[in-house]
Symmetry: D2
Subunit: 140 residues, 4 copies
Amino acid sequence: MPTRYRTIRHVQFRDTDAAGIAHFSVFFQYMEEAEHEFLRHLGMSVMTRDDEGVISWPRVSATCEFQGAVKFEDVLDIEVEVLRRGEKSVTYRFTFLHENRPVAEGQITAVCCRLDAKGPPRSISIPAWITEKFEAGDEA
Amino acid sequence: MPTRYRTIRHVQFRDTDAAGIAHFSVFFQYMEEAEHEFLRHLGMSVMTRDDEGVISWPRVSATCEFQGAVKFEDVLDIEVEVLRRGEKSVTYRFTFLHENRPVAEGQITAVCCRLDAKGPPRSISIPAWITEKFEAGDEA
Amino acid sequence: MPTRYRTIRHVQFRDTDAAGIAHFSVFFQYMEEAEHEFLRHLGMSVMTRDDEGVISWPRVSATCEFQGAVKFEDVLDIEVEVLRRGEKSVTYRFTFLHENRPVAEGQITAVCCRLDAKGPPRSISIPAWITEKFEAGDEA
Amino acid sequence: MPTRYRTIRHVQFRDTDAAGIAHFSVFFQYMEEAEHEFLRHLGMSVMTRDDEGVISWPRVSATCEFQGAVKFEDVLDIEVEVLRRGEKSVTYRFTFLHENRPVAEGQITAVCCRLDAKGPPRSISIPAWITEKFEAGDEA
């Protein structure tokens, strides 16, 4: 049974635009914030320093469908779910509701990478200790 | 022959993150900026006031695939193209290159709407004068 | 005794830059978010619709001194205080600590205005019902 | 005679808020973008890698006074000037006009620092090669 993690976000004034509603691009920030909160909940971080350097999760794909508009000070109920877990990548699904009304649904696929000050990020197999954290979350 | 509009963007310092690369969410801002520049190029704006009020283009879908990372001060070559033009919506495709290397490819679908201070945005058929601007662009 | 309102903020990944620390400009967003949270705590909003239209608080001045850097996932303790309350404006002071270490101190001066779709914002005397909310906060 | 560097910025849709005007916090982003463009104009970057590591310019102070509101698609004329150059820091002044009307005036003080993956930024005397670039700008 895959973990479903729930959190909330208030629409900030800075998130709105001259059309009077939350700008579509902030939903990608909300998704990432919810993902990172979920990882902390599982006892991890999106960026970890180990003996060999830094492991992080660059994104290869991000999508969002918008079903309704929200305004300044609206409260968003956000649900994060692991949709797919591959050898090197994880796909998260995010659902946004406002007062039980669907607002948006998105997905982010992130690839486990080693970061290096010099070259580009290099994809790696997800380390066992990370897989275990996800699995512990699934069982909880 | 559909219009292809080209523009560039410098990766700003604020666009980068602690992984040392442009954050994925800023590509959605770059896409929108390129779309708006394209509309101005065609003699329109994404937000127009007419006798009946305001016409604007809320987004129903936004996606981006990321093929490579870019850093502070990298220059992005961005191409905008109208992929589909329906009765009430337009889908744009965006291609990002850095030094001829693919960086990202995205799509935004926007719906022609009347905005109102009170209710939510209300979709309308794209007015003839807007269709003409797109068609003039196609012929150019 | 002026109200002191306390809140916290996690440094988000999007808030960091390629120098590995929270970007200076996000402190202005944190300040505003704390101000708005404070106003909600007092039973108000930074943007209110009444019979005559909309009352809001455009900023005439914003400053921040930076005393230390913070990183992704650091927790900021933020304190908001009303430093001055004039006939038409309010000045807030914001103090940022991380693990009891000073990080930043800022001020925002906002002017009470009527907003109008057509003209620029127009400053007004702070309405009595708003002054009463601030005073109730001072006494609490 | 200190260099004055001029550039422009279009107010982007994402820069506006539900009050229909450019959000105050984006002026700090505009200031930094103008500063970085100015440094490139002088043949430098705000972030330089040399034999010993990375030199960058964390901010110790940022202020802005707002004199008028601007809307989506307004064009800002921005002027950057070196107000003070100390042994370890530089203070820039920024002036924003829209159609010759004053919009905002701000200052940023940045300190020359060595960055290090481990510790906090460490202030250093501005290297001679950087001072020469500023002086060449003054004489131009």
